[in-house]
């Protein structure tokens, strides 16, 4: 198809869809007045039954915990896949130098960059930990916090350069974190079964509401998600960074 024909067909499809979209938009419950049987039930049942105040975490880790199992393993799968695709022929060697493009001058890192990176790396780490720990009380959670911590690692690259980054970020540690975190999350499902309950039943003591360690099993699940997400995203960053490494042999190119 030529681009013109494509666009013509696309326009035809849009024209056919317009009345349908309009009809659906008119028939949906008006914005701001939802039918919320499910959501309201969770708002009512969550605090008394699970002693936690963040209802999004209650849905993610308790009411619909199985979705998060799927989500966690989706991440595991994508990271494994991306690692496989990126490594390809490159392999997993260590200790190589960063690639230099011919003709581009190699400038030293500005001192201000180093300063900003060194100041902000620990702060971001701290903020990420805060997000992880407060999953059950205030907005936050293992996934969000884990991503923040993992992206804090990028500041090491920015501030200290490629070699330091390589020393600090060994892939097998991230592999272990990623797999181990996912496994721990799964064990949170299987553990209650061993104790005579059903998969992911929250049998642990619940603690008191508004406390950081409230919610029973949710605390462990949240921590395991954080571990898996840190490992997974750090692994992704690592492998994409590896693309900047200088090729060692001719056939790697």
């Amino acid at each position: 198809m030529s681009t013109r024909l494509r666009l013509a067909l696309f326009a035809v499809a849009q024209l056919c869809l317009l009345p349908a979209i309009w009809k659906i938009a008119r028939a949906l419950p008006p914005f701001g007045n939802p039918i919320e049987i499910y959501g309201r039930s969770i708002d009512t049942l969550g605090p008394p039954l699970r002693h936690i105040s963040n209802m999004v975490s209650a849905v993610n880790f308790d009411f619909r915990g199985l979705d998060t199992v799927g989500e966690e393993f989706m991440l595991l799968c994508a990271v494994t896949g991306a690692v496989t695709l990126l490594r390809g022929i490159r392999g997993e060697d260590r200790g190589a130098k960063a690639e230099r493009l011919p003709g581009r001058p190699l400038l030293d890192r500005a001192e201000s960059t180093i300063l900003v990176a060194r100041v902000f790396a620990p702060l971001i780490l701290l903020f990420g930990l805060y997000m992880v720990l407060h999953a059950t009380v205030t907005p936050g959670g293992g996934f969000q916090g884990g991503v923040i911590i993992a992206s804090g690692l990028l500041l090491v690259y920015l501030g200290e350069g490629y070699d330091a980054w390589r020393c600090l970020a060994p892939s097998r540690v991230f592999d272990a974190m990623e797999g181990g975190g996912s496994l721990l999350f799964l064990l949170c499902g299987l553990g209650p079964m061993a104790a005579g309950g059903v998969f992911m039943e929250n049998l642990l003591p619940l603690g008191s509401i508004k406390d950081v360690f409230s919610g029973g099993l949710i605390v462990i699940e949240n921590a395991s998600v954080a571990i898996a997400v840190i490992g997974g995203f750090a692994m992704l960053f690592l492998e994409f960074m590896e693309e900047t490494r200088a090729a060692e042999t001719e056939n790697e190119r």
């Binding site: 681009t3 494509r6 666009l7 696309f10 849009q14 869809l17 979209i21 659906i24 938009a25 008119r26 949906l28 419950p29 008006p30 914005f31 701001g32 007045n33 939802p34 919320e36 499910y38 959501g39 309201r40 969770i42 708002d43 009512t44 969550g46 605090p47 008394p48 105040s53 963040n54 209802m55 999004v56 209650a58 849905v59 993610n60 619909r64 979705d67 998060t68 799927g70 989500e71 989706m74 991440l75 799968c77 994508a78 990271v79 896949g81 991306a82 695709l85 990126l86 390809g88 009380v137 205030t138 907005p139 959670g141 996934f143 508004k210 992704l236 492998e239 994409f240 693309e243 190119r253």
Partner: protein, 118 residues
Amino acid sequence: MSVLPWLVAAWLFCVGIYGIVTSRNFVHLIGCLSVCQSSTYVLLLGIGYQWGAVAPIFYDHPPGTPAVDPVVQALVLTDIVVGATVTALLLAMALQVSRKHETLDPQKLRPFIDEGRR
């Protein structure tokens, strides 16, 4: 006004598709795919929104305060993970494509040059 969020969602989806259809660079195409996906965020969050309600977090407000639907927010969180994973995979593929052959143009990239016979 009450239909505006739904129309925005539909618009985002269609404009993303338009970008994919006309794209000449795979990285641009991946961006368009994310635009498509953001239509689902708008739709889901719009469905859960309630006028005058607070966030579904009962820390400053006592339990029982009218709050927006926490379920759709949890669904969106999962949806974001989907987006992140797919984008990571696609970018990895695009990187390998650009290494293997010079072009990143989706309109020049066919899995099979010779189609069948006869």
